[in-house]
Symmetry: C2
Amino acid sequence: MKLDELDTPAALVDISRMERNIARMQARMDALGVTFRPHVKTTKCLDVVRAQLAAGAKGITVSTLKEAEAFFAAGVTDILYAVSIAPSKLPRAMALRQKGCDLKLVIDNVPAAVEIAKFASEQRESLEVWIEVDTDGHRSGITPEQDALLEVGRILHEGGIKVSGVMTHAGSSYELHSPEALSELAEQERAGCVRAAQRLRDAGIPCEAVSVGSTPTALSAAKLDDVTEVRAGVYVFFDLVMHNVGVCSIDDIALSVVATVIGHQPEKNWVILDSGWMAMSRDRGTSKQAHDFGYGLPCALDGTPLNGWVMSGANQEHGILSPANPQLANGSQDESLAARFPIGTKLRILPNHACATGAQFPEYHALSDDGETTVWSRFHGW
Amino acid sequence: MKLDELDTPAALVDISRMERNIARMQARMDALGVTFRPHVKTTKCLDVVRAQLAAGAKGITVSTLKEAEAFFAAGVTDILYAVSIAPSKLPRAMALRQKGCDLKLVIDNVPAAVEIAKFASEQRESLEVWIEVDTDGHRSGITPEQDALLEVGRILHEGGIKVSGVMTHAGSSYELHSPEALSELAEQERAGCVRAAQRLRDAGIPCEAVSVGSTPTALSAAKLDDVTEVRAGVYVFFDLVMHNVGVCSIDDIALSVVATVIGHQPEKNWVILDSGWMAMSRDRGTSKQAHDFGYGLPCALDGTPLNGWVMSGANQEHGILSPANPQLANGSQDESLAARFPIGTKLRILPNHACATGAQFPEYHALSDDGETTVWSRFHGW
């Protein structure tokens, strides 16, 4: 189907941009001497992940067991489940291992280590676990110098569990916006994770893998000595949040929502679209950044940004486009609004957060340079 | 499956609460002498809609043609598509009509009226259209006194289109929180829509239906003279936004997300959950209301609210639970955190916005009073 024939709203992937983003990250990882394990939570789409693996990625990172099951069924075996596992999910994880999936689990606390060792012992099977390290205080993990790090390592190791790595995610990188600060955080992430691995090794626990990453730190690290692999997800599409962080330009953003003009409120300078928060998601990630893009940055259907306009509001299936400059919000442009955006006009809206926007759709429409689109399915749920 | 056996995250529907919410709304509509047309965009779930129809609802409201197609396939014929239709969607709407669906479309502007009349003429088929009326300035529609109202009516009527109703949605009711203000807005919504219908009738355009509604105004209207029907969606589950508006209590909220404790960060007083924004949605609808519930209000698995706690943060698959009172955020409770919320503990989180949270899940788990759950599927996409 041609781009201008798509029913709206539609989630559009610009294949050229996506390929460029994949090549950029892989080249960077190759230059830094580490392997790259993309986080597939961003797309949950086999077509995208195949492109990442074809470019040189080794294995994948997942955020749910459903992702692990779906990608293992498609032939991917090296999988890191990067969320501390709830004990009740252990049978589901074990079932994947028993089918031949090289699934690595993650935990960050003693009670979980006890549960895992007990479960594996009862099942008379082993499991492979990486310990989550906290290198920036933004969420989960054990800090490199905490006693709990060695305690968790020992409980697992002595319980017959293979402690084959440490992993960290410096998610606070999303809050930064200068190359210097990002580079510093990347070094903090690297050093903390390497230190945790060293402490485990010194205690006799093998810990081969040292896995770090977030899109901003992966693209900002000056060196990655003693790191074995990097993980990142959103780089594959990028988005307006990443643009504000400073790691991509607007024309790197590979995901957009195709929307249709369905009405006007001229006295308010509003153009009404058939795409609201159900399409864009409720993510307002740019609201606390230097440039607030509302619910998204509108572009013409050919991808040219409509600078000066913003998707300022969203109901479930209605979007509101208005001038970004409040001084223009009431006034001179009234007369030209319906002429500039006639009913039926199709636009592309660049999203705040590609992971959240993609999740609103059962499929992407992948756009080739010749204007043809192909359906790439994605899955949701757990 | 028993409640405590559900894999998490899971979207849980408390059937008793849902039935009570349905009965309350229907009794109110019966007393006001109007029919009730529930908006199914909230649930996109046949089991819920059957319960609404069984209680006395007449027809349904949809926000997408996919909803219309899915519910028509399940036997519902009287359907109002309550978003101004994009011209490119007309063939899809016509296909439904040709299969016997009593589908009513909505528009609010002259160019759309011209397109519809032209399309129907080319197809040699008729269509049925309701005109959207703007009674509170919050989004779309033609105000009751605008010339465009009669112009749209005439273009459709003379083009062979049946103009069988007017509809309005006073969505600004979500921004109110006093019974008096809600009751006033309900009257404004009623009066404006009735006035628009009268103007059309005076101009010789039949306009039988006068359709109004939003959950807050439907529950606040003192009278609905000359209105024929009311629409509302979120009342069926309610949520924290509706609680803050003042039209439900916490124990009316029928939707929650079941989550599992997977970690702790004691020095920050954080409990880490396996349910983040992918489960709750990014909707932060209570952030501008008098009581900000963060990403949700945690409850014990039996539904008892954990007052004093809030889901204060969310990443894609991680939620952060912390004390609602910042003075407690660092301090005395450190020691008891892991004891109070042991790893593996399951909780229910009440959502800000039931429409947005439900959309994150492929299915609900419907909970009976005996603790058993049943899968109720829902659909997404367009």
